[in-house]
């Protein structure tokens, strides 16, 4: 059974359509790239799955259930916007996550912080943007979840930090979990993806295994993306 299923999902903001009759099924044990230009519906889809927005039509199912507090307990979500309070230290925010999420693994979080030389006594407000991004990713990946939604996890960090973040994702997701990474930095993520979902103006225009696509088209995912979305 699909871990994430969208059935004829539409979402309108006023008379503007953000998603239009989207059908999509994603299985466990995969890393899936949710790819598309700005405004194609990536963040809307992720917010619907996390219960932050409601569909205008259709159903979205997480492990067979509609988004609810119950599904939130098996979903780890890294939002596109940083909303952690500046005054908190890393240690404070870890305690906060432990209170909220039964599946939060403190040891794993500390290990990741240690390997990145992040001082857990430091206040978030004192950190550089890149360090904050890493802390946010560590918080999301330290949960033992069934689904991880990572909305633009590598935007705004330097290339070396990008590599580290991608390696952190590869080495920390649960083997049977589904990892969904939304980004427009395709060249950076294409080697870590199993499947690619291309969104354009609220429609899924492609959903395919990445290695098969590369073999079939004889070009990189990034190259193919540029071709499909050429202006």
């Amino acid at each position: 059974m699909a871990l994430l299923e969208l059935r004829q999902v539409s979402k309108r903001y006023g008379n503007k359509s953000a998603l239009d009759c989207v059908d999509l099924q994603l299985e466990e044990g995969r890393i899936v790239g949710l790819l598309g230009p700005n405004g194609s519906g990536k963040t809307t889809l992720i917010k619907l799955a996390n219960g932050l927005l409601r569909t205008s039509n259709g159903a979205i199912l997480i492990d067979g259930k509609e988004p609810s507090p119950e599904t939130k307990s098996i979903v780890s979500y890294l939002p596109d916007k940083d909303s952690l309070p500046d005054w908190m230290k890393v240690d404070d925010i870890i305690n906060y996550y432990v209170d909220f999420f039964a599946d939060f693994d403190v040891d794993r979080a500390k290990e990741m912080l240690g390997s990145l030389n992040i001082d857990s006594k430091m206040k978030l407000g004192k950190m550089s943007k890149g360090t904050r991004e890493k802390v946010r990713l560590i918080l999301a990946m330290a949960r033992k979840s069934k689904i991880y939604f990572l909305d633009e996890p590598i935007a705004g960090v330097d290339p070396a930090a990008r590599d580290y973040i991608l390696k952190t994702i590869i080495s920390n997701y649960e083997p049977n979990a589904l990892v969904i990474i939304s980004t427009h930095l395709i060249a950076d993520v294409e080697n870590v993806l199993d499947e690619a979902v291309f969104l354009r103006e609220g429609h899924v225009v492609l959903h395919q295994n990445v290695q098969e696509l590369i073999e079939e088209k004889g070009k990189s995912l990034d190259g193919y993306f540029r071709e499909v979305f050429a202006c």
Partner: protein
């Protein structure tokens, strides 16, 4: 060693290519234990399923084998490894001929160029 991948060629094929070179160059010796899929995937910065696919293909072609609980190992069949060596030499010769043909060389011109090069190196 750093892993670098070319664009537009499936990653699992490039992993196999690199592993084959590592087998022939002696980085991995017959009977050596290989790192886990996940560790190798992390080192290379690729998806674990892609690494798994590369390993499965190499297992099918007899270059590595799995012992159910102990992990994956390089084949101890020296015949298989020398067969790999000739497979690769044929492949590289084919590539060389293809490139030189497209530059307008005939087979006999290639042959004499190769001879010249060998003599130059002696």
């Amino acid at each position: 060693m750093e892993w670098e991948f070319k664009k537009g060629v499936p990653i699992y094929m490039q992993i196999i290519e690199k592993m084959e070179m590592d087998l022939l160059s002696g980085k991995y010796k017959p009977g050596d234990k290989l790192p886990s899929v996940r560790d190798m995937a992390m080192e290379a910065g690729v998806n674990p399923n892609t690494m798994q696919k590369a390993f499965s293909e190499m297992e099918r072609s007899g270059l590595i084998y799995t012992e159910r609980t102990a992990g994956r190992f390089v084949t101890t069949d020296h015949g298989r490894i020398s067969a790999l060596k000739s497979e690769l030499s044929v492949k590289y010769l084919d590539e060389l001929f293809e490139t030189l043909h497209s530059l307008g060389f005939t087979d006999s011109e290639i042959l004499s160029a190769v001879k010249e090069k060998c003599e130059g190196e002696e």
